[in-house]
Subunit: 204 residues, 2 copies
Amino acid sequence: MSPPGSSRWSPTTEQLMILEELYRSGIRTPSAVQIQQITTHLSFYGRIEGKNVFYWFQNHKARDRQKLRRKLNKQLQLQQQQQQQQQQLHVHHCQLNHNNMISNHFVGSTFGYPFGSNAQDFSFFNSPSLLFEGSVSANTSEGEINCKWNGYNNQQSLMEKKDIAFSNYGWTLMDNNVNHEAPSCCTKPLKTLDLFPLTTRIKD
Amino acid sequence: MSPPGSSRWSPTTEQLMILEELYRSGIRTPSAVQIQQITTHLSFYGRIEGKNVFYWFQNHKARDRQKLRRKLNKQLQLQQQQQQQQQQLHVHHCQLNHNNMISNHFVGSTFGYPFGSNAQDFSFFNSPSLLFEGSVSANTSEGEINCKWNGYNNQQSLMEKKDIAFSNYGWTLMDNNVNHEAPSCCTKPLKTLDLFPLTTRIKD
DNA sequence: GCAAATTAATGATTTATTCAAG
DNA sequence: CTTGAATAAATCATTAATTTGC
């Protein structure tokens, strides 16, 4: 999928399918350990690094939210339009059909993700090394929007929040971790990561 | 500065002074290697981790921008107010003083950081192990706002951008790096990082 | 003076936006 | 046009300043 000298990762079909399944099953912000495991597993299907997994979930979540937002906006707009039309109608035919008026209360009926209906067979993910915490809440389908409104709740709390150490560098530390050649996966026991040697000087 | 059981890092006075000096000297988004070096050096003055350094620069930069933005907004608001007053005056006394009118062109005279005037002696940072790339452009004082308008330019380009691998996890990998006990600093040669052992299972 | 109570700073996390490869 | 990668902005949460009543 990604040519040898390619600068950015592109997931193989299998990798993508698995990632999507994991996402569907409730994983949104995988912990470092989860990322490690997913990476290790997915490296069976092609070159991949931890950061790829991380970014994938980050982006997928964000763009899902965005999609939902757009949809809601469009819906709202449509509704307002209709409302406006109704009002105009109302103004014009006030005397005639004032008992056919439509309530302008917002009808919030279409929340939630359109996921969870087309799950495929990913039972191999029940292999001991890949039982993720998040997966226990499979097929709960509340949207991220709700998350925001309710503060931090639901699935997030299922995952060990405190252990996750977040921030924005250190990928170089991870790079040697994933075996780019031999598909390691479950067969090979996980080992301690190798590290880049720190240079004492900076180049130039 | 930070009590033993404290959950978050608080910099010692010395650490803060050094960080600010580095910032002043032009460093904004230190690379992983730079962060390592800074961390190692600062660990001489107290407990500190790479992520602390990273966050510090992130926050400092952001809040600098924010400060500048606020200042400009206030200025602009003031100017608009004055302008409005002038217009009212103009309306009232149009015939009388139309040759005393003040131009409403924006006078952009107060850009730039208020930095660089009170530099102290941090010459020890010229020790071989701490010659940062960013420091060559000391005392250039263009604001971040300009950065935004011009796209990515100036100092950023001085730093090796490509080598920096960014993202949001992996701190656990760094944790063992900093020697929390013995103040290491320049005396001890940098060594390869230790790593946490990856567990095959997830707890629970 | 000195804690308890408020407020201001700021460390840490998450979310949104942007860049750019394909 | 999609989406991986990177950065910036917004937000949360804890610590330090400070105010306040005693």
